[in-house]
């Protein structure tokens, strides 16, 4: 099972933090991220991509599998049920789909669109298990949802009855006048 997925930049700033095993408080999550960063950052790029450094917050026998791309570390914390090389490939899949989503992804994309990174990850990993590994299928669902997303913003929602809209405009005029 995948316990957590983190993207951390070279300076230890989190760019994405997703915990599939509940880590109760935000403070604890930050310690996990810091701990991961400390262990990962001191490793040379020629070293292997596995770290058996313990992250006690995530349970015993958790292995860190990471890849370093330019300014970012993509770190997956997994238990023994995951294949070591498989996860490395999965990171590759994740990065490739990000690359397709953002067209030549760079750190700035991830900073300004952290939500979209989440949406992308959700199509690959769900609840700590691998959902889809086929990049085509991943991109298709992301594309569909992005379209839905845009459509829902541009036009008045079909589900909303016209009376409801009228009602809202009527009652909330004060806010709307600034918005339009």
């Amino acid at each position: 099972m995948i316990k957590a997925v983190c993207i951390i930049n070279n300076h230890g700033k989190p760019r994405l933090a997703k915990f599939y095993q509940s880590v109760e408080s935000e403070a604890l999550q930050q310690t996990v991220i810091r701990r991961i960063y400390q262990q990962v950052a001191q490793r040379d790029d020629t070293f292997c991509n596995y770290l058996e450094g313990i992250v006690p917050e995530l349970g015993d026998n958790v292995k860190l599998i990471y890849r370093h791309y330019a300014t970012l570390y993509f770190v997956f914390a997994v238990d023994s049920q995951e294949s070591d090389l498989g996860i490395l490939d999965l990171i590759q899949v994740f990065v490739e789909s990000l690359d397709k989503c953002f067209e030549n992804v760079c750190e700035l994309d991830l900073i300004f669109h952290s939500d979209r990174v989440h949406y992308c990850l959700d199509e690959i990993v769900m609840g700590g298990m691998v959902l889809e590994t086929n990049i085509g299928a991943i991109l298709q669902s992301i594309k569909d949802q992005t379209k839905l997303h845009k459509d829902s913003l541009s036009k008045a929602d079909a589900n909303e009855s016209s009376s409801a809209i009228r009602e809202r405009i009527g009652t909330e005029q004060s806010t709307w006048q600034y918005n339009w």
Partner: protein, 1039 residues
């Protein structure tokens, strides 16, 4: 007013480098205002910003309700934000999760991507209530026409099972069907889920093995094959026959696949299978050697790869291959590969390679391996260096030094490590090892003493002549080891003479040959040498000094002048320690000093009166006060002792008081457990002290009673630990002799039984043959052929007592765990610790550790689910009804009840008799409706209600029950009976704990229960019978 967008916030944070937290707190204040806006756009935007800030460590639990509001927005864009916020911000304790149930339910029936969002969200936030309420919808989604939703729903079900284990029983059939889904992604997800489930409790999934086996041989999807291989690997321990069957197909994969990931997983699973391949008759399948070679070659190729990841995995694979075939790595071909990895830059690889070493070590190559490792120790840095050292010690000392061919070599290694700077963290380990070897390996003891003397003397301002510890010629051994070294010298000081005889030309010891005793005493007491040492070391030093003096007096070869010098040194130096700030040092110095004084030793012929001035002088000099005044200056008795016998006479007393018996640190508990006390002395005899040893004093100096002789503190504790002092004489010895290896001779000295310790120590009593404490060695470097003859025979495997106590100790296992500290006791022996190994328990501790891994806490209840039982009628999909108080699912209630003590169960039984009428009445209506309602009626005490019910029904069911499915009444009835075994098994007393009056564990089967319970129902009051008759009538009419 324009709200900041997420982009603005990010830009702002990046711009305000200096005061980020201030900026963020401003943002949060804004968000707090915006999130209450009635405009969904504003609200969603605020939530989006907050979700971003959550990633940076800011709490967002206060916005839970707003998340739900945004989730319920009709716009997909807002929904997404809301669901993401919920995933990130909700925890198990978030109370508003209760409000999401209906929303999610509705969403699951909606559009594909909306439902996808909801499923994803459920997988992150699911709670027990949500799990139960949404199970039907999620199960329904697994047959949705869209594979996108099918795969998501399947994965989500796993999360649901974790919270609501009963759901697994209800829907497992559906998951099984998904294995045959036309869409490969869906199959892959189903395999994923089953792999996770099987990790928690493999037994349940054995029936699926053929299905997976088919997948393994037919599928070509590598992602899924990896999982299948993993899954089959986890099933193997449950069904060893599977292991043999798997070998060949896995080997095929290894031979044919090009994907490295699958290749590795296949090899890894083969290594997991190998331990189980043995057939019942003990033979191995014919293809095993071939497959082992195939694995080893594949792994070797991995290790030799330039890719560090593959190298790492190769080492991991070797590690698990070694579990079953340790000989693979001992072949010389693989050794250089692993050793090369030890010098890899990457610490992960180094650590893995290090882990392999202990498996590679054999009696033949241990020395070579350790020599290699020692080279690495010098180069290594950081914690890896510590790992190396502990590995070396581990390899050498494992299984009671089983692999060690040469103990004197090992001592050298230990001393060498002790001289390396920067290993202070291991000082304690090193010193306990040194002491342990000296204690337990008799043939090497003399060597140990010799080396220890050298180290003590090297501290005495003399540069080391040690060929090992010579790091630049000036490095001394780390001070933490000195207590062990000093203790060895003191405890075995009677071997000093022999060590001197051994001393080679050019060694340090050789220089001191003439006055070894004096030099040692000087080294141990001279303030110039000792004042920088820790108090705990000083304590041992003082003890050593007096012991060495005792040995000197007993050594006939020690020249009289040396004895006198030694004595003078002691008398001069000991009082200095009376001023020590450390109480223990003070006390030891005082005791030793008092002992010397009280023995009334003279400093040789003309020194008859010299002793007294010394006392006076010291007391004057140091301002000795009341404590010193207690000692009445003793008038020596020169005429009796003549020129020199003063010291010689004291020998027996000194030796007896300072080291009465061979040191044998084993805990009192283990001593009691042994059928025989190690030296053949009954432990109960300990109390008696052989006063005869003082007879010389009593005769010679009549003022003395043994009571005035101070025993040192060290000895006192040890006596109470069950270490036998000389308690009775060996019959047949003519002289006054003590049953003790040290005091066996004595014929040569007149009258007093002065002791010739030297020969005796190593000789020992023949009873030690059976003593597991002492280790044998093939050490041929020592010249004591007699010793080897005597001690070489100890068989460590056939330890007496071990077998006989095995059964007993198993029962005590639980107890032992609690009192683990007892096992590896550390007794303070002269200020430093000697680990006490309880040989009986050592092995067991290991087996306990090797027990199968337990699933984590959160999966515990999931692991308890048993899928082998067919579903009962009452086990239906939970239906959600309007209610505010959630009823606990049975499993949780069961686990709570489990804790209830037997007492309560008994109580309940009593109560049951009284409550029965009411209960039966209450259930009457229920009974008919049962099976159509929620799985368990929310009642406080199901057994109470159902039990009597079955009693009353008994007569009506006198005939064999009709086919269950055809009869509504019997259905309902079976429900009642069936309720108990799986939904709430622990509520019933388990068969083991239950008295015979109950029908044990048969409630699932209506038939036998009837008979048993009718018998029990007989004595019940008539009122109940009436009621039961009524019921019967009702039943009949219904039927």
């Amino acid at each position: 007013m324009f709200e900041k967008t997420l982009t603005d916030v990010v830009k702002g944070i990046r711009a305000s480098r200096r005061d980020t937290s201030l900026y963020i707190s401003q943002c949060i204040a804004e968000i707090k205002a915006e999130i209450n806006s009635s405009d969904m756009f504003v609200k969603a935007n605020a939530l989006q910003k907050l979700t971003f800030l959550q990633m940076m460590g800011y709490n967002m639990s206060w916005a839970s309700f707003a998340s739900i509001e945004v989730m319920s927005s009709p716009r997909f864009a807002h929904k997404r934000i809301g669901y993401l916020a919920a995933c990130q911000g909700f925890t198990q304790d978030t109370d508003v999760i209760l409000l999401t149930t209906n929303l999610l339910k509705k969403e699951l029936r909606g559009g594909v991507y909306e439902a996808g969002l909801a499923v994803n969200c459920i997988s992150n936030i699911v709670t027990e209530d949500l799990a139960r309420d949404l199970l039907p919808e999620l199960t329904g989604l697994t047959s949705h026409p869209q594979p996108y939703l099918r795969k998501k729903a399947i994965l989500c079900l796993f999360k649901v099972f974790v919270k609501y284990p009963q759901g697994l029983r209800l829907t497992f059939a559906r998951i099984q069907q998904c294995l045959e889904d036309p869409n490969p992604s869906v199959v892959s997800c189903a395999v994923n889920v089953i792999t996770e489930l099987s990790d928690k409790n493999p037994k349940n999934y054995l029936p699926l093995a053929p299905q997976f086996f088919k997948l393994l041989t037919t599928s070509s999807n590598n992602w899924m094959l990896i999982k299948v291989v993993k899954l089959l690997g986890s099933l193997v321990p449950e069904e060893p026959r599977l292991a043999r069957k798997l070998l060949e197909p896995l080997a095929d994969i290894v031979r044919n696949t090009k994907a490295k990931s699958l290749l590795f997983e296949a090899v890894h699973t083969i290594t997991l299978c190998l331990p189980y391949c043995k057939r019942a008759d003990g033979s191995m399948p014919a293809n095993v050697p071939e497959i082992v070679t195939l694995c080893a070659e594949t792994l070797q190729a991995f290790v030799n790869e330039a890719d560090q990841n593959l190298k790492y995995l190769g080492l991991v694979g070797f590690g698990s291959l070694m579990q079953s075939h340790p000989q693979v790595l001992t072949t010389p071909a693989y050794r250089p590969i692993v050793l090369a990895c030890l010098s890899d830059q990457d610490v992960t690889i180094r650590t893995r390679a290090l882990g392999l070493l202990s498996g590679m070590a054999s009696r033949r190559n241990l020395i070579e391996l350790v020599t290699q490792l020692l080279k690495h120790v010098e180069q290594a840095t950081g914690s890896y260096r510590y790992d190396l050292v502990s590995k070396i010690i581990d390899m050498c000392s494992s299984e009671k030094y089983a692999l060690l061919p040469d103990f004197s070599w090992y001592l050298n290694v230990l001393f060498q490590l002790g001289h390396i700077q920067g290993l202070e963290a291991h000082a304690e380990l090193l010193s306990s090892q040194i002491a342990d070897v000296a204690l337990r390996v008799l043939p090497v003891r003399r060597y140990a003493v010799g080396r220890s003397i050298e180290i003590l003397l090297e501290r005495n301002g003399v540069p080391s002549s040690d060929p090992f510890g010579d790091n630049g010629g000036t490095t001394n051994i780390m001070p933490e080891i000195l207590p062990a070294v000093a203790w060895i010298v003191g405890e075995y000081s009677d071997l000093i003479r022999m060590c001197l005889a051994d001393a080679e030309e050019g060694r340090l010891l050789e220089r001191y040959k003439k006055s070894a005793y004096h030099s040692i005493v000087q080294a141990c007491t001279a303030t110039s040498n000792c004042d920088k040492l820790a108090a705990s070391t000083q304590e041992v030093y003082l003890q050593t000094a007096i012991k060495v003096f005792a040995a000197a007096t007993a050594d006939p070869q020690a020249p009289e002048e040396e004895l006198e010098d030694t004595y003078k040194t002691l008398r001069q130096n000991l009082p200095l320690y009376l001023r020590s700030t450390d109480v223990e040092v003070q006390e030891r110095a005082f005791t030793s000093h008092a002992l010397l004084v009280s023995l009334g030793l003279t400093g040789g012929g003309g020194g008859a009166m010299a002793a007294l001035p010394v006392v006076n002088q010291t007391s004057d000099l140091l301002g000795m006060n009341s404590t010193e005044a207690d000692i009445t200056p003793i008038q020596p008795d020169p005429p009796l002792t003549g020129r020199s016998p003063g010291y010689r006479n004291a020998a027996s007393v000194l030796n007896y008081t300072t080291k009465p018996g061979p040191m044998k640190p084993s805990s009192a508990r283990s001593q009691k457990k042994k059928s025989q006390s190690p030296i053949g002395v009954d432990v109960s005899d300990i109390a008696s002290v052989d006063i005869s040893v003082f007879s010389s004093l009593l005769d010679g100096v009549s003022r003395f009673t043994p009571m005035e002789v101070s025993f040192t503190k060290q000895k006192e504790t040890l006596l109470s630990e069950g270490r036998p002092p000389p308690a009775r004489a060996i019959p047949g010895e003519s002289m006054q002799v003590f049953d003790n290896s040290r005091f066996s001779g004595g014929a040569d000295s007149a009258g007093f039984g002065a002791v010739s310790n030297v020969a005796a120590t190593a000789g020992g009593s023949p009873m030690r043959h059976n003593d597991p404490f002492y280790l044998r060695t093939n050490d041929t470097t020592t010249t004591e052929t007699q010793d080897i003859g005597q001690f070489g025979m100890i068989e460590l495997t056939g330890v007496d007592g071990e077998e006989t106590h095995n059964e007993k100790s198993k029962k005590k296992k639980k107890k032992k765990k609690q009192s683990k500290s007892d096992h590896q006791n550390t007794i303070a022996v002269g200020g430093f610790g000697v680990a006490v190994y309880d040989s009986d328990e050592e092995g067991e501790e290991l087996t306990v550790g090797r027990q199968a891994k337990k699933p984590g806490k959160e999966f515990a209840s999931l692991a308890r689910v048993d899928l082998s039982e067919p579903l009962r009628h009452d086990e239906v999909m939970p239906e959600r009804k309007h209610r505010t108080v959630p009823d606990n699912p049975p499993s949780e209630r069961a686990s709570k009840k489990e804790k209830k003590t037997k007492k309560e169960k008994k109580k309940r039984k009593k109560e049951k008799a009284e409550e029965a009428p009411a209960a039966s009445g209450g259930i009457e209506g229920d009974l008919l409706g049962l099976g159509f309602e929620s799985p368990m009626p929310v009642q406080s005490n199901p057994p109470m209600q159902t039990m009597p019910q079955s009693n009353f029904m008994a007569p009506a069911q006198a005939q064999p029950p009709p086919v269950a499915s055809s009869n509504a009444v019997s259905d309902a009835f079976e429900d009642l009976l069936g309720l108990q075994p799986t939904t709430a098994p622990p509520q019933l007393p388990t068969p083991a704990s239950q008295p015979t009056s109950f029908a044990p564990a048969n409630y699932g089967q209506p038939f036998p229960v009837m008979g048993m319970n009718t018998a029990q129902a007989a004595p019940k009051p008539s009122k109940k019978e009436k009621k039961s008759k009524k019921e019967k009538k009702k039943k009949k009419s219904k039927a």
